[in-house]
Subunit: 230 residues, 2 copies
């Protein structure tokens, strides 16, 4: 975008995203509902997507703040930015089905592929490297980014919580796409959207949720992540 002669751009100078419609696939799950609630409360137009339109409408009505509910395909088509918050188990199948509906859209993957056993959580390694890279492989016509991995669904959904004290690491291949996602994160009080690398560096960001689960268990917390010195 910039040539080597151009002055370096201020990384905190982000676009105005207040007019964008945000869809949340898997929006009836805890993470999806929490993200939809926070973005809508911050003034964003939000559409919950679910397999069944009826369930999406019900969940949307419960959230208030003008959130609407549609089936996943209609949600994708009606949105500018589409957050993928489906369970990892349904990730590939859902995206394969929605490939055309997501064509040209800015897709934000927030899925954390994890396994659980008696020793706790551990990361799964998708064949493509990460959930985000799987999305990019399945959606060649979409602009795929990754973000919103480290948020506590409990805190997101609690109306008494005014600020979400955490940074959102945003990954992607195109600066303009990442900046839209960073700006969206920045609309939620307490959150900053921080660029944190290309999609090939998404796996460890997704997998870090396993560590946060260990932290939460030991410290009885809902841990988030802040990046210091910026």
């Amino acid at each position: 975008m910039t040539t080597s002669d151009a002055p370096p751009r201020d990384p905190w100078d982000l676009p105005d995203v207040s007019g964008l419609v945000v869809g949340v696939l898997g929006g009836t799950g805890d993470q999806g509902r929490g993200l939809a609630y926070r973005l809508a409360r911050a003034g964003q137009q939000v559409i919950l997507g679910s397999r069944a339109a009826g369930r999406a409408e019900e969940a949307a009505a419960a959230l208030g703040h003008g959130v609407r509910g549609l089936d996943n395909a209609a949600c994708a088509r009606a949105s500018d930015v589409v957050i993928v918050a489906v369970p990892w188990e349904g990730h590939a199948a859902t995206l394969r089905e929605l490939r055309e509906d997501l064509d040209g859209k800015l897709v934000v993957d927030c899925v954390n592929p994890l396994g659980f056993d008696r020793k706790g959580a551990h990361p799964l390694v998708p064949e493509e490297g990460s959930a985000a890279e799987q999305a990019a492989a399945l959606l060649p016509g979409s602009r795929v980014t990754a973000a919103f991995h480290h948020l506590s669904a409990v805190l997101l959904q609690d109306p008494a919580v005014e600020k979400i004290d955490t940074d959102v690491m945003v990954l992607g291949e195109r600066r303009a796409d990442c900046e839209i996602v960073q700006a969206l994160a920045g609309r939620v009080p307490g959150m900053r959207g921080v660029y944190a690398g290309r999609l090939r560096n998404a796996h460890q960001v997704e997998a870090l949720v396993a560590n946060l689960i260990s932290v939460n268990r030991r410290y009885k917390a809902h841990a988030g992540i802040r990046l210091t010195d910026l």
Copy 2:
């Protein structure tokens, strides 16, 4: 350590580690020197280890604060806690050589296996899963933990920096060992040592340095990590 009938222990109640001798293998590198400096400045007895005793002695003298220098094997034998801060390329060979010297020691691996190309940094995946798990496999007689991955060597080494504004994620299999490392981290002003899971969850903690490199480049920063809500 505790039975299920015992009251839950305060996770911030950590042992007194002020009398422990800390060795730093690869102590003449930027990361090792920085860690040695911070721990010694906080009052810890520190020994720098290097292949050549002479180089270790020189680097130790430059750090002051009573830091001593020895060759790696002597450093390991003279220390209670041994931080492994060698380059990833020499990690396996160095540990294989020092197996007997490290017997019974509390080993703290802080190595980040990374590759670099024109697109920046990306994680390498050791056959054992992580540098820390490689250390555990090569050192069956040692108590292996992982920590100190996300610290800026620039900030660590700068005497004008009073506080290191970051948490240290500590991983390991035994709570007592992790707590010693957490307590060590906590001696440095600004740092907290936070338990963050078992060694099988070390890879993503090591790999996250690739993301911090992207952050540092975009924001002209020396980024660290804080865990929120604890």
